[in-house]
């Protein structure tokens, strides 16, 4: 049984969702051009990831397992997450307009973010309890935010740098990601946590 602190650290740094697990790469490269959009996206992911991990946790353990419908896991989770994002969007629009203005445009993008669906499956595969799942999803979402902000900061600088023609645009972004990921490899073994 892993302590919540180790789960958090593992999800945040050692097994960083983007740089080590390769989940959520589309928003990682898509919305990392500027730091302010990157921050908005990370807040949206934190919000949705936490809610999605709770809801799928209850659906799996109190609905699919008792009814012997585990094979519907994939279909059920993706539909629940898609409708959850829609509901959040409607709710925020009506009740918390300030938050909606900050997160609104990122919410539809989050539905197709494989990081959200990915961690709901990982929580089931790792057999986490509700507390562990909560800590795990917060750590993962913060790890995503960290990676995204680092990338956005670097890309703002790279825009001004002389890059060879063939590497302009996405190739240089991938090379940057490679170096960041290499740096994160250094966290492997921290407090005995393995990749």
């Amino acid at each position: 049984m892993m302590s919540p602190f180790l789960i958090f650290l593992s999800a945040f740094l050692v097994n960083n969702i983007v740089l080590m697990r390769f989940l959520g790469l589309c928003p990682y490269f898509g919305v990392s051009r500027r730091t302010d959009t990157a921050l908005g996206m990370s807040m949206g992911v934190l919000f949705v990831m936490l809610l999605a991990s709770w809801i799928t946790f209850f659906i799996y353990h109190y609905l699919l397992v008792p009814l012997d419908l585990i094979f519907l896991r994939t279909a059920a989770f993706i539909l629940v997450i898609a409708s959850l994002v829609q509901l959040i969007e409607l709710f925020l629009k009506k009740n918390v307009p300030t938050l909606y203005q900050a997160l609104g445009i990122y919410l539809p993008l989050i539905t197709t973010n494989c990081a959200i669906l990915g961690i709901t499956f990982l929580i089931i595969d790792y057999d986490y309890t509700l507390l562990q799942a909560t800590v795990f999803s917060i750590g993962t979402a913060m790890g995503f935010g960290l990676a995204l902000l680092l990338m956005a900061g670097m890309r703002e600088q790279i825009d001004l740098a002389p890059v060879p023609d063939a590497l302009k645009g996405s190739p240089i972004a991938f090379i940057t990601a490679s170096l960041t990921s290499l740096a994160f490899l250094g966290f492997a073994g921290l407090l005995g946590l393995s990749i």
Binding site: C26, F174, L185
Partner: protein, 198 residues
């Protein structure tokens, strides 16, 4: 005309190297040639069957709820491949891990279903699905081969390099940073070729 539906997705609009979609599985499972080929075949299966199914019932799908309908159909085929792989190729299933059920959110599949199968006939959709699937498989297989050759010194598990290299392969290549570096190089080469053509 029909053959263009097939070849379009392989090179000109290669989903991974040109359109930059479906990146997560491409980077995550391309540590060996075997894993990449397995992932590629799984995607060809899901993509082709979803394309055929959706184009054959496209007249009955109301436009407003088309996305949920697509997702249900896609996730059915993903579940089929998920359970079959678990039963018949457990080694591959263990290596691919969470990326098998995650085929359902692979943008390539939803993109082809929404962009092509929903508007075209069954046979054209079949060819389009096969073409895009093969394009994806080609990209992931090239990546998997490069990373396995350099990172483990093997190809499909067989030794191909002299003993000296075998003992000290470039482990960097099979770790996550290597994946980013290989795809960056492949995209750079594609850009360079496109630039010299124009």
């Amino acid at each position: 005309m029909q053959s263009r539906n097939f070849t379009n997705g392989i090179l000109k609009n290669n989903p991974v190297l040109v359109l930059m979609i479906g990146l997560c599985p491409t980077l995550a499972v391309s540590t060996t040639a075997f894993n990449s080929l397995g992932m590629g075949i799984a995607v060809i299966f899901v993509l082709t069957l979803s394309n055929i199914t959706i184009s054959s019932i496209r007249k009955f799908i109301p436009e407003n709820i088309r996305i949920p309908v697509f997702i249900v159909i896609i996730s059915t085929f993903v579940t089929v491949i998920d359970y079959n792989m678990y039963a018949f190729i457990p080694d591959l299933y263990k290596n691919l891990g969470v990326f098998v059920p995650l085929i359902v959110v692979n943008c390539i599949i939803l993109g082809r279903v929404e962009g092509f199968a929903y508007k075209n006939g069954v046979f054209a959709s079949l060819l389009d699905g096969l073409g895009s699937g093969i394009g994806f498989t080609l990209a992931i297989f090239i990546m998997g081969s490069i990373r396995e050759l350099l990172g483990s010194g093997t190809f499909f598990g067989f030794n191909v390099f002299p003993q000296g290299f075998q003992n000290n392969p470039v482990i960097f290549m099979i770790l996550p940073p290597g994946g980013f570096l290989v795809i960056a190089s492949l995209m750079g080469i594609m850009n360079h070729l496109k630039g010299s053509q124009a």
